[in-house]
Amino acid sequence: MIYFDNAASSYPKPYSVSKSVGMWLKSNGANPGRSGHKPAIEASGVIYDTRSVICKMLGMDEPENIVFVPNATYGLNFLIQGILKSGDHAVTTDLEHNSVLRPLKLLEKKGVSFDTVCVDLYDDDKTVDNILKNIKKNTKLVICTQCSNVCGKVMPIQKISAALPEGVRLVVDGAQGAGIIPTDMKRDGIDYYCAPSHKGLMGPQGSGFIAINNELFEPLIVGGTGSESFDLNQPEYLPDMLESGTLPTPVIKGMYEGIKFILDIGIENIYRHKISLVKYAVNALNGLDGVITYVDPDLACFASTTCFNIIGSSSDRVAAYLADNDICVRSGIHCAPLFHKKMGTENTGMVRISFGCYNTESEIDVFIKILKKYLKK
């Protein structure tokens, strides 16, 4: 099997991840931060060490500013719905996932307004200008993906943050960037960043985090934190304020091992590898008659993911043929409706191929060979 669906969820996971999750489930079932016995203290150690390794990955100093959430969608909802209030305005882009667009749409009913700006795939300055043109007096947030989940465009986060007026905060959706694009919250001027465990961080599904580098915001979920139990108000300090209920320790243990794995390889090295695989794949696809590609990776930075179509075939049909030949890709709209409108593919969708750190050029060669068979049919 060739697995080119890493933007949906990375596979395979490093051995250290599956081993540690299995071992943890066998050896410790305690609840972190609740009891005082040895397994509970050990579980709390796992949680803390994972906060620390996330900090290391993001150039942050305070592990308590890492808040665990079930996944990136929850993280984005916590941020968007927690920060924006009636009368506020937000700016986002046409590369965003529905996990950004739908919370904004929901908030429209509560008096929040937003504008969606066009990303120029090849001119980052123009993109920054488009964002700035839409900043208003009441703009509180700019919400931007770090890397498109369809075309792999790497967004100019540092340029965007440097250009924003004071008081406008930047939320970065790291779902496709975490563990793939070198990130430093302070250097890059990111106020809030969220990511899931199960994509570039190589961990299991079931957890993610928000990294907080600015003011706190209202929690969407409140409840048991173990701390201040007689106070019916939610604690107002991190991480307790935003982290109610039992954390999924086995998943977080796996996330820890996944992040250690990518830090050992080096995120710079992973980034280079994934850029080169995209270039290799797009060049190979461009050599096939009847194939449409949508980006030119020689003109801008596209990492990890790319997309194509075959003239006269639906993306679903192509993906099904590839699946029959043991190649895993994803077809359709990829929860990014505005990107497809931008590219004129709202009716056909696209076939997305997304690479992980284990993928190789020779796997792309096999994929191209199978695609050639499809084209001959």
Partner: protein, 77 residues
């Protein structure tokens, strides 16, 4: 020496940074203070390390439990 921390995260933080500085410690749940209810944790270490441990914890951003302000309020937040 037993010092109460703001929450489990800060107790763990104290434990890890003390370890990095060569001081052995452990995290314990408070179970001997009638005024404390819920899950409050302390960092426990040898008495002879008190001054150095406090300095390390405070410069490392460990926040102590509000009850400890009486004892160490001038040193730590």
């Amino acid at each position: 020496m037993k010092i109460k921390c703001k929450n489990m995260t800060h107790a763990m933080k104290a434990n890890r940074i003390l370890y990095d500085n060569g001081i052995h410690s452990k995290v314990e749940k408070i179970n001997d203070d009638p005024d404390i209810h819920g899950c409050v944790y302390s960092i426990v270490f040898d008495d002879r390390h008190l001054n150095r441990a406090l300095e390390i914890m405070c410069s490392g951003g460990v926040i102590l439990h509000k009850k400890e302000k009486i004892n160490y309020g001038d040193v730590c937040k």
